[in-house]
Amino acid sequence: MKSTLAELNALREAGIIGQFAIGGAMGATFYLEPISTYDLDIFVLFENPPLILTLTPIYEFLQQRGHVPEGDAIVIHSWPVQFLPAESPLLTEAVQQAVAVDFEGVPTRVMTAGHLMAIALQTGRAKDFTRLLAFVESGVVDEVALAAILKRHGLVDAWGRFKQNYRPNP
């Protein structure tokens, strides 16, 4: 993972991507118990986005460095990495406000717990609700920060429905 993260920093240093942050299951693993996942979700901002957003420059850069595309990801030092443009206001904010983390000497960034929860709520698949419950039960969430994120991104009603349907056991 350390070498994978170093390659992501190389992409950033080459100016191909702007800020980025780890999200998805690996982002949640930063806050919770380890969660089984096959890939690494990297949400990226583009500093000078073209009219039509494309991941081609990312893939070209990484392929020149010996990494191989596989399905919907590119394998970087044994980790399939999926790049996701942070296009929505929620994703953009999540990348901008991500937490700086030192991974065994390699700097990287992980989305905040509040943003990971809001994204899971917005995405709304069964596994997202499972992850949301894990966050709620863990008690790691800053509830004031979460409430502000949910309000800014129009997710207050969805959060109310989630709590009604999936209230964790006391």
């Binding site: 693993t29 118990e33 096959y38 994204i119």
Partner: protein, 66 residues
């Protein structure tokens, strides 16, 4: 719920909590081991005809789903 089941569930909760408190690199190493183990199980299940092969994913494109 019987006291025994309640005790087991509480122990599981405590285990999850202690795993959550591990340093991030250590948790990532656990994820890597989980991933490798589940890939081996999946391959064995396919070899024994217990599971159909996974459908190939589409090639990389923009606008990936999460």
């Amino acid at each position: 719920m019987s006291p025994l089941t309640a005790q087991i569930l509480e122990q599981k909760r405590q285990r999850r909590q202690s795993l959550a408190q591990l340093p991030f690199p250590e948790k990532v190493r656990i994820v890597e081991r989980l991933r490798d183990a589940s890939l081996r199980i999946s391959a064995a299940a396919q070899q024994q005809g217990l599971r159909k092969p996974a459908v190939a994913k589409p090639p990389p494109s923009d606008g990936h789903p999460l």
